[in-house]
Symmetry: C2
Subunit: 252 residues, 2 copies
């Protein structure tokens, strides 16, 4: 008897951003693995077993989920947003790559979702409408010099940037350094969007300029989008501004 | 009386990748604007008016949709994938930016969706699991020298790249030039994923290496993902390979 494992993305918040394919996978699961707040958002059906863990130990969680699937269980691993963007799909693949050979025969599926940058962009207009980069500022996954290099090169390339995991308790100064560097590289007038808790009750979205952006505005639930030269802000009377990046690009 | 306009993303193909929020917006629409094949995928309810157009005239389509909303209609603009990624949200914002002042008071919303790169990545593993860039090779929106520059800089930055619109009838040679350049920049062994018609009946997903990738494999429905140094291929007996990008990055 062989089980199977599905990694699902439940989007950034509300139930009406969860795809039907993900809802079906969740309904059919016997065991749900994931970061506790994500599993809490899903809710459990009678008989389903909850394996909630802290944030950060992705590889241990992936290994436990694969072991359960190997033993014949129908396992779902719950990611926020999309599982393929700084979430659980990569950790599950890594665990398979370095795990027992039998795991390579497991039925493993990944169900895509709405990742935070798409939801944040949709709330404010179309800031990702031009070529863009998607970078994580996460503390523990790469050295600062590499992040700085990527901020430089993507600025030179004229790309919009979506910044995931901009702030953490361990290193709150990272986002300040990043915004300072980007202000020098892209100019102080460049629009920057802070999108916190997108789609939730306490959602907050602000548009600033790099020159006067406050790094303290970012917390662990914030997604940041930094514009490029083609990014425009449309002021609207009595409504929040729209921010978009022009589709056409001139020569760099 | 004032209407409103919602730009929705219906995902890359199947109905079970359409979010409930998008389904509700579609059900409530009076007028649907969009590229004909997208509107055909949605299907119309009795009384709904279909405004289908050719691909390519996004700004004209946006203008027509905004005019209808201004006249009091409940308008939905249908995008494939996510509306914010090389799709209609940016064109709608641009039309508002350059249109009559009254359009700035319109109720305009954007509903996110699953964009092609997330669906393609999910089908094959987690190739976007590390920092990545998302670039369009579209013919008419930017000069080739700019695209080449972006391929060089994102390679230097060590980013995975998702390439939208890799091929067109007008300039079929673009993708060949891009893949050649990337093979020189990233090495011939770099994994490259060709994902065509993801989620549809005729879906086809192939993994190749940059050194022997065939540009003719790409057509207008293909999304390409080019790996970085952290991208690994897991061969599996009797199953398609898994491709993923490691979450951890060493110094560049």
């Amino acid at each position: 008897m062989s089980g199977h494992l599905t990694v699902v993305g439940i989007g950034p918040g509300p139930a009406d951003w969860v795809t039907p394919a993900v809802s079906i996978a969740l309904a059919e699961a016997q065991d749900l693995f994931g970061y506790a707040p994500y599993i809490d958002r899903v809710g459990l059906r009678p008989g389903q077993i909850r394996h909630a863990s802290d944030n950060g130990d992705e590889l241990a969680r992936a290994t436990a989920a694969l072991s359960a699937a190997q033993s014949g269980r129908n396992v779902v691993v719950v990611s926020g947003g999309d599982p393929g963007v700084f979430a659980m799909a990569s950790a599950v693949c890594e665990a398979i790559d370095h795990g027992p050979a039998a795991w390579r025969s497991l039925d493993v599926r990944i169900e895509p979702g709405v990742t935070a940058m798409l939801a944040a962009a949709a709330r404010i207009g179309a800031p990702l409408g031009a070529d863009f980069a998607c970078l994580s500022l996460s503390d523990n996954l790469k050295p600062w010099v590499l992040i700085e290099n990527r901020l430089r090169l993507t600025s030179e390339a004229g790309l919009v940037i979506a910044l995931y995991n901009p702030a953490s308790k361990a290193r709150p100064d990272r986002i300040g350094k990043a915004l300072n560097l980007l202000a020098r590289l892209r100019g102080p007038q460049t629009p920057v969007i802070f999108a916190t808790a997108v789609g939730r009750r306490d959602e907050r979205i602000d548009v600033a300029r790099l020159g006067d952006a406050d790094p303290a505005r970012a917390d662990m639930r914030t997604l940041i989008i930094v514009g490029c030269e083609a990014t425009k802000v449309i002021e609207r009377p009595g409504l929040p501004p729209l921010v978009y990046s022009e589709r056409f690009a001139r020569e760099a």
